[in-house]
Symmetry: C2
Subunit: 204 residues, 2 copies
């Protein structure tokens, strides 16, 4: 039993298969919880406060920002989005894993505040595969797809900032790799100081 749960940060270009891999991981590890973001945008129909998001006023959000209450945050189209520290830290303290599926900018903010997180980058095996996946969705225009490909290319420079890289050319293998990373990280000596102390005490 590790000292605390794992904060798992997953990034990768749109079309890399992050969502599918994260969902598969959650099935294998019932102990994984998704983080709940706080946002200043209005709830959409059916969205529940504390389930889909924590909804907050702009004043409230900015006051929390001043208190350094977020692991990461961003402003998108005049609305704030952020990951509240206290919610995440409470889960981790209970030994639960927390998974954040966020972009590189967010991940780098988390890394600064919580370097012991597990940072995983999912990458498609090639531009061709990524383009095929994006076209297969039938949701994006050619311009949007071209933009996503250019962004994916630019983001490759950031992979070295992550602990792990998973090339998703085969979904089962990618999920197996991600699951192995979580199993391995739970065995890190630095995460098991309490367990080691317990064993020591049993040798007295």
């Amino acid at each position: 039993m590790a000292d605390s749960g794992l904060l798992i940060v997953v990034s990768g270009p749109s079309g890399a298969g992050k969502g599918t891999i994260c969902d598969a991981l959650r099935k294998q590890f019932p102990n994984i919880h998704y983080s709940i973001s706080m946002t200043t945008r209005k709830p959409r129909q059916g969205e529940v406060d504390g389930v889909n998001y924590y909804f907050a006023s702009k004043d409230k959000f900015e006051s929390l920002l001043e208190q350094d209450a977020f692991l990461e945050h961003a402003k998108v189209y005049d609305h704030y989005y952020g990951t509240p520290k206290d919610y995440v830290y409470r889960l981790l303290g209970e030994g639960k894993h927390v998974m954040l599926e966020i972009d590189i900018q967010g991940a780098m903010q988390v890394k600064e505040k919580y370097p012991q997180g597990v940072f995983i980058y999912i990458v498609p095996p090639s531009k061709e595969v990524l383009e095929k996946r994006l076209r297969g969705r039938h949701t994006d225009t050619d311009d949007v797809i071209a933009g996503r490909l250019a962004k994916a290319r630019a983001e490759l420079d950031w992979i070295a900032q992550y602990d792990y890289v998973i090339v998703n050319d085969d979904l089962d293998k990618a999920v197996h790799a991600a699951a192995s990373i979580l199993e391995a990280e739970q065995c890190r000596a630095a995460r098991n100081t309490q367990c080691i102390a317990n064993i020591k005490s049993m040798y007295q």
Copy 2:
């Protein structure tokens, strides 16, 4: 495909189950090779040079020592034992994993020379379990067992120097943990610079 194979260093007290776990790992990863030690002791009946050991004269060994040709070495009862660097590095360069099952003193020497190795400590769940395993072998006297238990206790202070700790209270789980560590380490971003460069070039 990672930049090179993994150098896997496994330590743990006598009776922790190192050998059983390492053998199980080798079955799962045919790419794992055991290192071959060099020694100055005489070959025993049936031992083959280059298979069981590299046999060398004391002069030869000491000359290699001066050339810093060993990853680790020790002198036991007037005989030298050492792990030749060039043999290990050649295998790693070919993408093969090399496994060293060595004591803490040896592991710490390796860590200094090859910090990118994967250092795993196998620990029995308690003194009682270790004692039971040692007695179950019917090979050691009470004095020897008492000595092994005291040594195991003293060595627990060194676990923090290892990357990973596996508590072997269930062999299948311990093997699964060890296998996960190898899978995960193969995904380390720092070990996949070539793979990342290849993907980058495909996005041009």
